[in-house]
Amino acid sequence: MIKIKDLVHRYTIWENENKKSKKTVLDGISFDIPSGQFVAILGANGSGKSTLAKHLNVLLLPDEGTVWIDGKDTKDKEKLWKIRTEVGMVFQNPDNQIIGTSVEEDVAFGPENRNLPSQEIRGRVTKSLDAVGLQSKRKVSPSRLSGGQKQRVAIAGVLACMPKCLVLDEPTAMLDPKSREEVMKVVHELNQERGFTVVLITHHMDEAVGADQIYLMKEGHVVKCGSPKEIFCETELLRELKLDVPQVTELAYRLAEKGIPFKLPVLKEEDFVEQMKAVCQSEDIERGR
Protein backbone atom coordinates (compact mmCIF):
# COMPACT_ATOMS: atom_id res chain seq x y z
CA MET A 1 0.00 0.00 0.00
CA ILE A 2 2.67 2.48 1.05
CA LYS A 3 6.31 2.18 0.06
CA ILE A 4 9.03 4.57 1.19
CA LYS A 5 12.60 4.46 -0.09
CA ASP A 6 15.53 6.58 1.11
CA LEU A 7 13.30 9.50 1.97
CA VAL A 8 15.17 12.69 2.83
CA HIS A 9 13.60 15.99 3.81
CA ARG A 10 15.33 19.22 4.69
CA TYR A 11 14.06 22.47 6.12
CA THR A 12 15.72 25.82 5.58
CA ILE A 13 16.53 27.70 8.77
CA TRP A 14 17.20 31.41 8.63
CA GLU A 15 19.70 32.24 11.31
CA ASN A 16 19.63 35.88 10.40
CA GLU A 17 18.85 37.97 7.34
CA ASN A 18 21.80 36.75 5.33
CA LYS A 19 22.65 33.40 6.76
CA LYS A 20 20.61 30.32 6.21
CA SER A 21 21.27 26.67 6.81
CA LYS A 22 19.51 23.44 6.05
CA LYS A 23 18.29 21.15 8.75
CA THR A 24 17.77 17.51 7.84
CA VAL A 25 14.51 16.40 9.37
CA LEU A 26 14.21 13.03 7.64
CA ASP A 27 17.45 11.24 6.90
CA GLY A 28 17.02 8.28 4.57
CA ILE A 29 13.83 6.58 5.74
CA SER A 30 12.82 3.30 4.08
CA PHE A 31 9.97 0.98 4.96
CA ASP A 32 6.80 -0.59 3.60
CA ILE A 33 3.29 -0.66 4.95
CA PRO A 34 1.11 -3.48 3.58
CA SER A 35 -2.57 -2.97 3.03
CA GLY A 36 -4.79 -3.40 6.09
CA GLN A 37 -2.04 -3.05 8.64
CA PHE A 38 -2.14 -0.85 11.75
CA VAL A 39 1.19 0.90 12.01
CA ALA A 40 2.24 3.13 14.88
CA ILE A 41 5.10 5.60 14.47
CA LEU A 42 6.49 6.70 17.80
CA GLY A 43 9.06 9.29 18.69
CA ALA A 44 9.71 12.37 20.76
CA ASN A 45 8.86 15.87 19.58
CA GLY A 46 11.31 16.74 16.86
CA SER A 47 11.99 13.19 15.71
CA GLY A 48 10.47 13.92 12.32
CA LYS A 49 7.33 11.82 12.63
CA SER A 50 4.88 14.59 11.69
CA THR A 51 7.01 15.49 8.67
CA LEU A 52 6.93 11.85 7.59
CA ALA A 53 3.14 11.79 7.90
CA LYS A 54 2.81 14.81 5.61
CA HIS A 55 4.73 13.01 2.89
CA LEU A 56 2.11 10.28 2.82
CA ASN A 57 -0.55 12.72 1.76
CA VAL A 58 1.69 14.77 -0.54
CA LEU A 59 1.45 17.81 1.68
CA LEU A 60 5.24 17.72 1.40
CA LEU A 61 7.45 16.45 -1.41
CA PRO A 62 10.71 14.55 -0.84
CA ASP A 63 14.03 16.34 -1.33
CA GLU A 64 15.56 12.94 -2.08
CA GLY A 65 14.14 9.46 -2.27
CA THR A 66 10.66 8.36 -3.23
CA VAL A 67 7.30 7.70 -1.67
CA TRP A 68 4.83 5.42 -3.47
CA ILE A 69 1.18 5.34 -2.47
CA ASP A 70 -0.54 2.29 -3.96
CA GLY A 71 2.06 2.21 -6.70
CA LYS A 72 1.83 5.93 -7.49
CA ASP A 73 4.87 8.16 -7.07
CA THR A 74 4.03 11.21 -4.97
CA LYS A 75 6.22 13.40 -7.19
CA ASP A 76 3.90 12.75 -10.12
CA LYS A 77 1.75 15.88 -10.34
CA GLU A 78 -0.94 14.19 -12.39
CA LYS A 79 -1.58 11.67 -9.66
CA LEU A 80 -1.77 14.20 -6.83
CA TRP A 81 -5.54 14.30 -6.40
CA LYS A 82 -5.88 10.56 -6.80
CA ILE A 83 -3.37 10.03 -4.00
CA ARG A 84 -5.14 12.55 -1.80
CA THR A 85 -8.33 10.55 -2.27
CA GLU A 86 -6.62 7.35 -1.26
CA VAL A 87 -4.85 8.67 1.81
CA GLY A 88 -6.92 10.63 4.28
CA MET A 89 -5.28 12.65 7.01
CA VAL A 90 -6.47 13.68 10.48
CA PHE A 91 -4.52 16.34 12.33
CA GLN A 92 -3.80 17.24 15.91
CA ASN A 93 -5.98 20.25 16.58
CA PRO A 94 -9.66 19.25 16.49
CA ASP A 95 -10.88 22.80 15.85
CA ASN A 96 -8.51 23.65 13.02
CA GLN A 97 -9.75 20.91 10.71
CA ILE A 98 -13.47 21.47 10.87
CA ILE A 99 -14.78 23.86 8.27
CA GLY A 100 -18.51 23.41 8.20
CA THR A 101 -20.97 25.16 10.46
CA SER A 102 -22.71 21.88 11.14
CA VAL A 103 -21.40 18.31 11.40
CA GLU A 104 -22.99 17.03 8.21
CA GLU A 105 -21.88 20.07 6.28
CA ASP A 106 -18.27 19.49 7.31
CA VAL A 107 -18.34 15.81 6.43
CA ALA A 108 -19.81 16.75 3.02
CA PHE A 109 -16.87 19.08 2.28
CA GLY A 110 -14.64 16.37 0.81
CA PRO A 111 -17.24 14.84 -1.54
CA GLU A 112 -18.44 18.32 -2.56
CA ASN A 113 -14.91 19.19 -3.65
CA ARG A 114 -14.97 16.12 -5.89
CA ASN A 115 -18.09 17.41 -7.61
CA LEU A 116 -20.12 14.31 -6.85
CA PRO A 117 -23.91 14.24 -7.30
CA SER A 118 -25.92 15.45 -4.29
CA GLN A 119 -27.56 12.09 -3.73
CA GLU A 120 -24.22 10.36 -3.48
CA ILE A 121 -22.85 13.00 -1.15
CA ARG A 122 -25.77 12.50 1.21
CA GLY A 123 -25.22 8.74 1.14
CA ARG A 124 -21.53 9.06 1.93
CA VAL A 125 -22.17 11.49 4.78
CA THR A 126 -24.65 9.08 6.37
CA LYS A 127 -22.28 6.14 6.04
CA SER A 128 -19.32 8.05 7.43
CA LEU A 129 -21.24 9.37 10.41
CA ASP A 130 -22.44 5.84 11.13
CA ALA A 131 -18.89 4.55 11.05
CA VAL A 132 -17.83 6.99 13.77
CA GLY A 133 -21.06 6.87 15.75
CA LEU A 134 -22.17 10.47 15.33
CA GLN A 135 -25.36 10.08 13.29
CA SER A 136 -27.38 11.64 16.09
CA LYS A 137 -25.26 14.81 16.02
CA ARG A 138 -25.69 15.41 12.33
CA LYS A 139 -27.20 18.86 12.49
CA VAL A 140 -25.27 20.07 15.52
CA SER A 141 -22.78 22.94 15.33
CA PRO A 142 -19.18 21.74 15.86
CA SER A 143 -18.60 24.30 18.60
CA ARG A 144 -20.98 22.33 20.80
CA LEU A 145 -19.00 19.11 20.57
CA SER A 146 -16.35 17.72 22.90
CA GLY A 147 -12.77 17.30 21.69
CA GLY A 148 -13.27 13.60 21.11
CA GLN A 149 -16.44 14.18 19.11
CA LYS A 150 -14.72 16.82 17.00
CA GLN A 151 -11.91 14.44 16.12
CA ARG A 152 -14.49 11.83 15.19
CA VAL A 153 -16.13 14.37 12.90
CA ALA A 154 -12.72 14.98 11.34
CA ILE A 155 -12.34 11.22 10.82
CA ALA A 156 -15.82 11.05 9.28
CA GLY A 157 -14.90 13.91 6.99
CA VAL A 158 -11.90 11.94 5.81
CA LEU A 159 -13.91 8.71 5.44
CA ALA A 160 -16.41 10.47 3.20
CA CYS A 161 -13.64 10.77 0.61
CA MET A 162 -13.46 6.95 0.62
CA PRO A 163 -9.73 6.55 1.24
CA LYS A 164 -7.86 3.27 1.49
CA CYS A 165 -5.57 4.51 4.19
CA LEU A 166 -5.93 6.75 7.24
CA VAL A 167 -2.99 8.74 8.53
CA LEU A 168 -3.52 10.25 11.97
CA ASP A 169 -0.98 12.81 13.16
CA GLU A 170 -1.12 12.83 16.97
CA PRO A 171 -4.91 12.90 16.94
CA THR A 172 -5.24 12.65 20.72
CA ALA A 173 -2.52 15.07 21.82
CA MET A 174 -5.00 17.76 22.81
CA LEU A 175 -7.70 15.52 24.23
CA ASP A 176 -8.65 14.46 27.75
CA PRO A 177 -8.43 10.71 28.61
CA LYS A 178 -12.10 9.99 27.92
CA SER A 179 -11.99 11.62 24.48
CA ARG A 180 -8.75 9.78 23.75
CA GLU A 181 -10.41 6.45 24.42
CA GLU A 182 -13.37 7.37 22.20
CA VAL A 183 -11.15 8.26 19.27
CA MET A 184 -8.84 5.24 19.60
CA LYS A 185 -11.85 2.93 19.76
CA VAL A 186 -13.13 4.27 16.45
CA VAL A 187 -9.67 4.00 14.87
CA HIS A 188 -9.27 0.37 15.92
CA GLU A 189 -12.76 -0.46 14.67
CA LEU A 190 -12.00 1.08 11.29
CA ASN A 191 -8.86 -1.01 11.01
CA GLN A 192 -10.17 -4.31 12.32
CA GLU A 193 -13.73 -4.30 11.07
CA ARG A 194 -13.46 -2.30 7.88
CA GLY A 195 -9.95 -3.10 6.76
CA PHE A 196 -8.52 0.41 6.55
CA THR A 197 -4.76 0.73 6.60
CA VAL A 198 -3.95 2.95 9.58
CA VAL A 199 -0.80 4.94 10.23
CA LEU A 200 -0.89 6.43 13.72
CA ILE A 201 1.67 9.03 14.72
CA THR A 202 1.84 9.42 18.48
CA HIS A 203 4.00 9.67 21.55
CA HIS A 204 1.59 7.78 23.78
CA MET A 205 2.84 4.23 24.13
CA ASP A 206 -0.49 2.89 25.32
CA GLU A 207 -2.06 3.79 21.97
CA ALA A 208 0.57 1.74 20.17
CA VAL A 209 -0.24 -1.39 22.17
CA GLY A 210 -2.86 -2.53 19.65
CA ALA A 211 -0.72 -1.91 16.55
CA ASP A 212 0.54 -4.60 14.18
CA GLN A 213 3.89 -2.92 13.70
CA ILE A 214 5.68 -0.13 15.55
CA TYR A 215 8.41 2.13 14.13
CA LEU A 216 10.53 4.10 16.58
CA MET A 217 11.97 7.36 15.29
CA LYS A 218 14.77 9.52 16.54
CA GLU A 219 16.21 12.58 14.81
CA GLY A 220 14.98 11.61 11.39
CA HIS A 221 15.91 7.92 11.48
CA VAL A 222 13.95 4.80 12.15
CA VAL A 223 15.92 3.29 15.03
CA LYS A 224 13.87 0.16 15.52
CA CYS A 225 10.82 -1.55 14.19
CA GLY A 226 8.90 -4.55 15.36
CA SER A 227 5.71 -5.83 16.92
CA PRO A 228 4.49 -4.26 20.18
CA LYS A 229 5.83 -7.22 22.13
CA GLU A 230 9.29 -6.74 20.68
CA ILE A 231 9.33 -2.99 21.16
CA PHE A 232 7.94 -2.84 24.67
CA CYS A 233 10.80 -4.99 25.91
CA GLU A 234 13.29 -2.31 25.05
CA THR A 235 12.68 -0.15 28.12
CA GLU A 236 16.13 1.40 27.98
CA LEU A 237 15.80 2.40 24.35
CA LEU A 238 12.33 3.80 24.95
CA ARG A 239 13.57 5.90 27.82
CA GLU A 240 16.39 7.17 25.65
CA LEU A 241 13.87 8.18 23.01
CA LYS A 242 11.96 10.14 25.65
CA LEU A 243 9.02 7.74 25.54
CA ASP A 244 7.17 6.25 28.45
CA VAL A 245 5.87 2.76 28.87
CA PRO A 246 2.51 2.06 30.47
CA GLN A 247 2.75 1.65 34.22
CA VAL A 248 1.96 -2.08 34.11
CA THR A 249 4.78 -2.71 31.66
CA GLU A 250 7.21 -0.86 33.90
CA LEU A 251 6.00 -2.70 36.98
CA ALA A 252 6.27 -6.13 35.35
CA TYR A 253 9.79 -5.30 34.17
CA ARG A 254 10.90 -4.25 37.64
CA LEU A 255 9.34 -7.29 39.33
CA ALA A 256 10.91 -9.60 36.77
CA GLU A 257 14.30 -8.09 37.60
CA LYS A 258 13.71 -8.84 41.28
CA GLY A 259 12.99 -12.47 40.55
CA ILE A 260 9.25 -12.81 39.98
CA PRO A 261 8.86 -14.91 36.80
CA PHE A 262 6.91 -12.63 34.46
CA LYS A 263 6.85 -13.20 30.74
CA LEU A 264 7.84 -9.83 29.39
CA PRO A 265 6.67 -7.55 28.03
CA VAL A 266 3.35 -7.10 29.71
CA LEU A 267 1.30 -4.73 27.63
CA LYS A 268 -2.15 -4.60 29.19
CA GLU A 269 -3.74 -4.59 32.62
CA GLU A 270 -5.58 -7.86 32.03
CA ASP A 271 -2.32 -9.42 30.94
CA PHE A 272 -0.63 -8.40 34.18
CA VAL A 273 -3.44 -9.68 36.39
CA GLU A 274 -3.55 -13.02 34.55
CA GLN A 275 0.18 -13.50 34.80
CA MET A 276 0.31 -12.50 38.47
CA LYS A 277 -2.43 -15.00 39.23
CA ALA A 278 -0.69 -17.71 37.25
CA VAL A 279 2.62 -17.00 38.94
CA CYS A 280 1.10 -17.17 42.43
CA GLN A 281 -0.77 -20.36 41.61
CA SER A 282 2.31 -22.08 40.24
CA GLU A 283 4.18 -20.92 43.34
CA ASP A 284 1.50 -22.48 45.53
CA ILE A 285 1.67 -25.71 43.53
CA GLU A 286 5.45 -25.74 43.98
CA ARG A 287 5.07 -25.44 47.72
CA GLY A 288 2.34 -28.03 47.70
CA ARG A 289 4.80 -30.58 46.35
Partner: protein, 285 residues
Protein backbone atom coordinates in the same frame (compact mmCIF):
# COMPACT_ATOMS: atom_id res chain seq x y z
CA UNK B 1 -3.88 30.98 53.47
CA UNK B 2 -6.73 31.00 50.99
CA UNK B 3 -10.14 30.00 52.20
CA UNK B 4 -13.35 29.69 50.27
CA UNK B 5 -16.68 29.38 52.07
CA UNK B 6 -19.77 28.06 50.35
CA UNK B 7 -19.01 29.60 47.03
CA UNK B 8 -21.69 29.57 44.38
CA UNK B 9 -21.21 30.84 40.87
CA UNK B 10 -23.80 31.28 38.18
CA UNK B 11 -23.03 32.35 34.64
CA UNK B 12 -25.42 34.94 33.25
CA UNK B 13 -27.28 35.28 36.51
CA UNK B 14 -30.74 36.63 35.85
CA UNK B 15 -30.71 36.09 32.09
CA UNK B 16 -32.26 33.36 30.02
CA UNK B 17 -28.93 31.54 29.73
CA UNK B 18 -28.39 31.14 33.44
CA UNK B 19 -26.07 28.32 34.29
CA UNK B 20 -25.25 27.31 37.85
CA UNK B 21 -21.63 26.33 37.49
CA UNK B 22 -20.30 26.11 41.04
CA UNK B 23 -22.31 24.90 44.01
CA UNK B 24 -21.49 25.25 47.64
CA UNK B 25 -17.73 24.97 47.36
CA UNK B 26 -15.70 25.26 50.55
CA UNK B 27 -11.96 24.79 50.56
CA UNK B 28 -8.75 25.68 52.33
CA UNK B 29 -5.29 26.04 50.86
CA UNK B 30 -2.40 26.03 53.30
CA UNK B 31 1.31 26.57 52.89
CA UNK B 32 3.11 23.57 51.51
CA UNK B 33 -0.01 22.07 49.98
CA UNK B 34 0.37 20.47 46.57
CA UNK B 35 -3.22 19.99 45.55
CA UNK B 36 -4.40 18.03 42.55
CA UNK B 37 -7.77 19.19 41.24
CA UNK B 38 -9.39 16.52 39.13
CA UNK B 39 -12.76 16.02 37.51
CA UNK B 40 -14.42 15.29 34.20
CA UNK B 41 -14.52 17.96 31.48
CA UNK B 42 -17.10 20.56 32.34
CA UNK B 43 -17.10 19.85 36.07
CA UNK B 44 -16.11 23.42 36.83
CA UNK B 45 -12.40 23.09 37.56
CA UNK B 46 -11.27 26.05 35.49
CA UNK B 47 -14.12 28.17 36.83
CA UNK B 48 -13.16 27.42 40.42
CA UNK B 49 -9.55 28.21 39.74
CA UNK B 50 -10.48 31.57 38.21
CA UNK B 51 -12.21 32.43 41.46
CA UNK B 52 -9.07 31.79 43.42
CA UNK B 53 -7.22 34.66 41.81
CA UNK B 54 -10.14 36.99 41.49
CA UNK B 55 -10.76 36.75 37.74
CA UNK B 56 -14.28 35.71 38.57
CA UNK B 57 -16.34 36.82 41.51
CA UNK B 58 -18.63 34.42 43.32
CA UNK B 59 -22.33 35.17 43.13
CA UNK B 60 -22.67 33.87 46.68
CA UNK B 61 -20.26 32.90 49.40
CA UNK B 62 -17.00 34.27 50.74
CA UNK B 63 -13.33 34.22 49.85
CA UNK B 64 -10.65 35.02 52.41
CA UNK B 65 -6.97 35.48 51.85
CA UNK B 66 -4.83 35.45 54.98
CA UNK B 67 -8.03 36.10 56.92
CA UNK B 68 -8.89 39.23 54.92
CA UNK B 69 -12.20 39.33 53.08
CA UNK B 70 -11.45 39.46 49.38
CA UNK B 71 -15.00 40.52 48.56
CA UNK B 72 -14.82 43.34 51.06
CA UNK B 73 -15.14 46.86 49.77
CA UNK B 74 -11.61 48.01 50.25
CA UNK B 75 -9.80 44.88 49.14
CA UNK B 76 -7.71 45.60 46.05
CA UNK B 77 -7.93 42.76 43.56
CA UNK B 78 -4.41 43.44 42.38
CA UNK B 79 -3.23 42.26 45.78
CA UNK B 80 -4.88 38.90 45.31
CA UNK B 81 -3.58 38.63 41.77
CA UNK B 82 -0.05 39.16 43.00
CA UNK B 83 -0.35 36.49 45.65
CA UNK B 84 -2.21 33.93 43.60
CA UNK B 85 -0.47 33.23 40.32
CA UNK B 86 -2.46 31.49 37.60
CA UNK B 87 -0.89 29.74 34.63
CA UNK B 88 -3.45 28.85 31.96
CA UNK B 89 -3.44 25.95 29.54
CA UNK B 90 -1.00 26.38 26.66
CA UNK B 91 0.50 29.43 28.38
CA UNK B 92 3.10 29.87 25.63
CA UNK B 93 0.34 31.41 23.53
CA UNK B 94 0.30 34.53 25.70
CA UNK B 95 3.93 35.56 25.07
CA UNK B 96 4.00 38.89 23.30
CA UNK B 97 7.09 40.92 24.18
CA UNK B 98 10.14 41.45 21.99
CA UNK B 99 12.50 39.57 24.28
CA UNK B 100 12.19 36.79 26.80
CA UNK B 101 13.34 38.97 29.67
CA UNK B 102 10.89 41.75 28.87
CA UNK B 103 8.02 39.30 28.75
CA UNK B 104 8.82 37.85 32.14
CA UNK B 105 9.18 41.37 33.54
CA UNK B 106 5.68 42.31 32.38
CA UNK B 107 3.94 40.88 35.43
CA UNK B 108 6.27 42.38 38.06
CA UNK B 109 6.18 45.79 36.34
CA UNK B 110 2.41 45.76 36.43
CA UNK B 111 2.56 45.15 40.14
CA UNK B 112 4.51 48.32 40.65
CA UNK B 113 8.02 46.95 41.11
CA UNK B 114 10.87 49.19 39.90
CA UNK B 115 12.74 48.16 36.77
CA UNK B 116 15.66 46.83 38.78
CA UNK B 117 13.45 44.81 41.10
CA UNK B 118 11.43 43.46 38.20
CA UNK B 119 14.55 42.51 36.27
CA UNK B 120 16.07 40.75 39.27
CA UNK B 121 12.88 38.85 39.95
CA UNK B 122 12.56 37.90 36.28
CA UNK B 123 16.13 36.62 36.11
CA UNK B 124 15.66 34.55 39.23
CA UNK B 125 12.46 32.99 37.91
CA UNK B 126 14.01 32.23 34.52
CA UNK B 127 16.91 30.55 36.26
CA UNK B 128 14.54 28.44 38.32
CA UNK B 129 12.67 27.23 35.24
CA UNK B 130 15.92 26.33 33.53
CA UNK B 131 16.26 29.15 31.01
CA UNK B 132 19.77 30.54 31.15
CA UNK B 133 21.12 33.99 30.39
CA UNK B 134 21.82 33.34 26.71
CA UNK B 135 18.09 33.45 26.04
CA UNK B 136 17.29 36.68 27.85
CA UNK B 137 17.46 38.91 24.80
CA UNK B 138 16.10 36.44 22.30
CA UNK B 139 12.57 36.75 20.92
CA UNK B 140 10.23 34.29 22.66
CA UNK B 141 9.08 33.08 19.24
CA UNK B 142 12.47 31.52 18.54
CA UNK B 143 12.33 29.09 21.45
CA UNK B 144 11.14 25.51 21.34
CA UNK B 145 7.66 24.62 22.58
CA UNK B 146 8.88 23.37 25.95
CA UNK B 147 11.08 26.41 26.47
CA UNK B 148 8.25 28.80 25.62
CA UNK B 149 6.13 27.12 28.21
CA UNK B 150 8.86 27.49 30.83
CA UNK B 151 9.13 31.19 30.01
CA UNK B 152 5.38 31.61 30.43
CA UNK B 153 5.55 29.92 33.83
CA UNK B 154 8.49 32.13 34.80
CA UNK B 155 6.34 35.12 33.85
CA UNK B 156 3.91 34.21 36.60
CA UNK B 157 6.60 33.18 39.11
CA UNK B 158 8.32 36.52 38.75
CA UNK B 159 5.38 38.13 40.51
CA UNK B 160 6.34 36.18 43.63
CA UNK B 161 3.02 34.58 44.38
CA UNK B 162 2.41 32.50 47.52
CA UNK B 163 0.01 30.24 45.69
CA UNK B 164 0.66 28.93 42.20
CA UNK B 165 -2.19 27.49 40.16
CA UNK B 166 -1.44 25.56 36.98
CA UNK B 167 -4.12 24.46 34.55
CA UNK B 168 -2.91 21.34 32.71
CA UNK B 169 0.73 22.41 32.57
CA UNK B 170 1.70 19.30 30.63
CA UNK B 171 -0.97 19.50 27.92
CA UNK B 172 0.35 18.50 24.52
CA UNK B 173 3.84 17.56 25.73
CA UNK B 174 5.60 14.27 25.12
CA UNK B 175 6.12 12.02 28.17
CA UNK B 176 9.70 13.01 28.87
CA UNK B 177 9.09 16.77 28.68
CA UNK B 178 5.97 16.28 30.76
CA UNK B 179 7.96 14.72 33.54
CA UNK B 180 10.52 17.51 33.33
CA UNK B 181 7.80 20.10 33.76
CA UNK B 182 6.32 18.35 36.79
CA UNK B 183 9.72 17.86 38.39
CA UNK B 184 10.36 21.53 37.82
CA UNK B 185 7.11 22.50 39.51
CA UNK B 186 7.86 20.29 42.48
CA UNK B 187 11.30 21.81 42.73
CA UNK B 188 9.97 25.34 42.66
CA UNK B 189 7.37 24.49 45.22
CA UNK B 190 10.00 23.28 47.62
CA UNK B 191 12.38 26.16 47.01
CA UNK B 192 9.82 28.90 47.39
CA UNK B 193 7.60 27.10 49.88
CA UNK B 194 4.57 27.70 47.73
CA UNK B 195 1.15 26.17 47.80
CA UNK B 196 0.43 24.66 44.40
CA UNK B 197 -2.88 23.76 42.82
CA UNK B 198 -2.58 21.51 39.81
CA UNK B 199 -5.54 20.98 37.51
CA UNK B 200 -4.99 17.84 35.50
CA UNK B 201 -6.56 14.92 33.71
CA UNK B 202 -3.53 12.72 34.11
CA UNK B 203 -4.19 10.66 37.18
CA UNK B 204 -0.79 9.05 37.20
CA UNK B 205 0.88 12.45 37.53
CA UNK B 206 -1.56 13.67 40.14
CA UNK B 207 -0.94 10.55 42.21
CA UNK B 208 2.81 10.90 41.89
CA UNK B 209 3.29 14.57 42.69
CA UNK B 210 0.47 15.86 44.87
CA UNK B 211 -0.15 15.53 48.60
CA UNK B 212 -3.87 16.38 48.46
CA UNK B 213 -6.50 15.56 45.88
CA UNK B 214 -9.79 17.39 45.33
CA UNK B 215 -12.40 15.79 43.11
CA UNK B 216 -14.98 17.92 41.33
CA UNK B 217 -18.21 16.72 39.83
CA UNK B 218 -20.89 18.91 38.26
CA UNK B 219 -19.75 21.99 40.11
CA UNK B 220 -19.32 20.46 43.55
CA UNK B 221 -16.27 19.34 45.49
CA UNK B 222 -17.26 15.76 46.17
CA UNK B 223 -14.06 14.28 47.55
CA UNK B 224 -11.06 15.69 49.35
CA UNK B 225 -8.16 13.81 50.85
CA UNK B 226 -4.64 12.62 50.23
CA UNK B 227 -3.98 10.70 46.99
CA UNK B 228 -4.08 7.34 48.72
CA UNK B 229 -7.51 8.00 50.25
CA UNK B 230 -9.03 9.40 47.10
CA UNK B 231 -7.71 7.01 44.47
CA UNK B 232 -8.48 3.92 46.50
CA UNK B 233 -12.18 4.76 46.18
CA UNK B 234 -12.19 3.28 42.70
CA UNK B 235 -15.91 2.47 42.62
CA UNK B 236 -16.95 5.98 43.60
CA UNK B 237 -14.58 7.51 41.04
CA UNK B 238 -15.92 5.23 38.34
CA UNK B 239 -19.47 6.38 39.14
CA UNK B 240 -18.28 9.95 38.76
CA UNK B 241 -16.76 9.04 35.39
CA UNK B 242 -13.25 9.85 36.57
CA UNK B 243 -10.31 7.60 35.82
CA UNK B 244 -7.75 6.30 38.25
CA UNK B 245 -4.04 5.70 37.65
CA UNK B 246 -3.51 2.48 35.71
CA UNK B 247 -1.48 1.06 38.58
CA UNK B 248 -4.36 1.61 41.03
CA UNK B 249 -6.78 -0.12 38.73
CA UNK B 250 -4.43 -3.07 38.27
CA UNK B 251 -3.68 -3.54 41.98
CA UNK B 252 -7.43 -3.33 42.74
CA UNK B 253 -8.02 -6.14 40.27
CA UNK B 254 -5.26 -8.20 41.90
CA UNK B 255 -6.91 -7.79 45.29
CA UNK B 256 -10.24 -8.81 43.80
CA UNK B 257 -8.62 -11.94 42.41
CA UNK B 258 -7.51 -12.93 45.90
CA UNK B 259 -3.93 -11.75 45.95
CA UNK B 260 -3.11 -10.36 49.37
CA UNK B 261 -2.09 -6.74 49.06
CA UNK B 262 -2.74 -4.19 51.81
CA UNK B 263 -4.49 -1.75 49.51
CA UNK B 264 -4.49 -0.46 45.94
CA UNK B 265 -1.24 1.24 44.94
CA UNK B 266 -1.00 4.77 43.60
CA UNK B 267 2.38 4.65 41.91
CA UNK B 268 4.71 2.12 40.34
CA UNK B 269 7.16 2.35 43.26
CA UNK B 270 4.30 1.82 45.70
CA UNK B 271 3.05 -1.23 43.80
CA UNK B 272 6.53 -2.67 43.44
CA UNK B 273 7.12 -2.44 47.17
CA UNK B 274 3.81 -4.02 48.11
CA UNK B 275 4.02 -6.87 45.62
CA UNK B 276 7.57 -7.70 46.62
CA UNK B 277 6.53 -7.76 50.27
CA UNK B 278 3.63 -10.04 49.44
CA UNK B 279 5.98 -12.29 47.44
CA UNK B 280 8.50 -12.51 50.26
CA UNK B 281 5.74 -13.42 52.67
CA UNK B 282 4.65 -16.19 50.33
CA UNK B 283 8.14 -17.58 49.95
CA UNK B 284 8.80 -17.34 53.69
CA UNK B 285 5.75 -19.43 54.53
Amino acid sequence: MLKGEQIHFTYGAGTANEKHVLRNISFQIKEGDFIGLIGASGSGKTTLVKHMNGLLRATEGGLYFRKENVYGRKYPLSKLRKEVGLVFQYPEQQLFEKTVLKDVMYGPCNLGMTREEAEASAKESLCQVGIDGSYYHVSPLELSGGQKRSVAIAGVLAMNPSILILDEPAAGLDPYTKRQVFDLILNIQKRRNLAVVLVSHHMEDVAAYTNKVWVMHKGELVLQGNPMEVFSQTKRLKELNIGVPQITSVTEKLIEQGIHLERAAISVDDAEKMILQMWKRRIAR
